[in-house]
C-alpha cells in the first residue's frame, strides 16, 4: 500500500465490472428474444442443470431457503425456462427440468459471455486476460476455500445483520 491505488478502489471496481458485464449480457439477451430474464434466472438455471433439481436442492445450491427457491422456480416456469415434473421414484419430489427454451437461454448466454470476454481480451491482450482471471480466482478465495456462490441473502448488503 506504499504505492498507488487506495484499497477502497478494489471492491468498487469489482462491483462495477460485474454490473457492466451482467447489464451488457442482459441487454443482448433482451434483444435476442429473452426480454424478461433476470440475472437470478441464469444463476438458477445453471444450478438446475444438467440433471435437474428439486426445490430443496436448488435452495441448498443457491444458499437460500427451499421456499425462496420455489418462488424462483415459479418464475422460471412462468417464463417457460423450466418445468416441474413428478418423480416416479419418489412421490415427494418434483424434479425441476430446464426446457428447450431454457437450454437455448443458457447456450446463448454462454455465447454472449464468450463474446463479451473476447471483447475485453482483445482490448487487454490474451495473456493479460488469462492472468486477470487467474488473479481474480486468487482474490475470490477466503480461508483457502472458494467462496460459495450465495447470490442471495436479503439484507447481506442492507441495513441489518
Amino acid at each position: 500500500m506504499a504505492d498507488d491505488a487506495p484499497g477502497f478502489a478494489l471492491p468498487l471496481l469489482l462491483l462495477q465490472a460485474f454490473r457492466a458485464i451482467v447489464d451488457d449480457l442482459h441487454e443482448e439477451l433482451a434483444r435476442a428474444g429473452h426480454p424478461g430474464v433476470r440475472p437470478v434466472h441464469g444463476f438458477a438455471l445453471q444450478a438446475i442443470r444438467p440433471q435437474g433439481a428439486t426445490a430443496a436442492e436448488l435452495g441448498r445450491r443457491l444458499g437460500v431457503s427451499k421456499q425462496a427457491a420455489a418462488k424462483t422456480i415459479d418464475a422460471l416456469e412462468r417464463l417457460g425456462y423450466a418445468v416441474r415434473r413428478g418423480d416416479p421414484a419418489d412421490g415427494r419430489r418434483k424434479l425441476v427440468c430446464v426446457t428447450p427454451r431454457g437450454v437455448d437461454l443458457l447456450e446463448l448466454s454462454a455465447r454472449l459471455l464468450d463474446r463479451i470476454r473476447g471483447d475485453w481480451a482483445a482490448r487487454l491482450g490474451q495473456e493479460r486476460a488469462t492472468r486477470l482471471e487467474r488473479d481474480l480466482a486468487t482474490l475470490a478465495e477466503r480461508d483457502g476455500a472458494a467462496h460459495a456462490l450465495r447470490v442471495d441473502a436479503p439484507g447481506w448488503f442492507g441495513h441489518h445483520e
Copy 2:
C-alpha cells in the same frame, strides 16, 4: 475465446471476489468495535463526506429515491455514524453530517482495505496487483463511460424488470 476460460466464469469471479473482500472487511470491522455496520453504510457514509449531504442529494448520489436514502440515514443515525442538523440558510434542508464515530469507521475501513489489498498484492506481486486494478477499470467501463455506482436497484438481480 479460442483458448481457456469460458466467458461465464468472469462474472462469477468478480462477484465472489467482491464478496470475499467485503466480508473480510466487515468481519474485522465487527471485531474492531463496529459490529452493526453493513456494506451499504460504508457506501452511504462515503457519499455523505466530506461536506455532508441532504437526503435528496444522497439519494441522487447513490442512485435511489430520497425516501430510500432517508431510511439509510435513519439507520446511520441510529448507529451513531451520522446526525441530521437543520440548515440555517435553508429551512427545508436537513444536512446530514458524519459523526466522529463515522469518521473513525471510514478511516478504519480505509486502513483495513489497504491491508486487504496489501495481502493479495503480496501474494500476486505488486506489479500484477497494479495491473489487475487497471484492467478491472477497463472492464468496468461501458460505452466509454464509467459505470455509475448504483448499489441499489431492488429487483435488479431479482425476478422482474
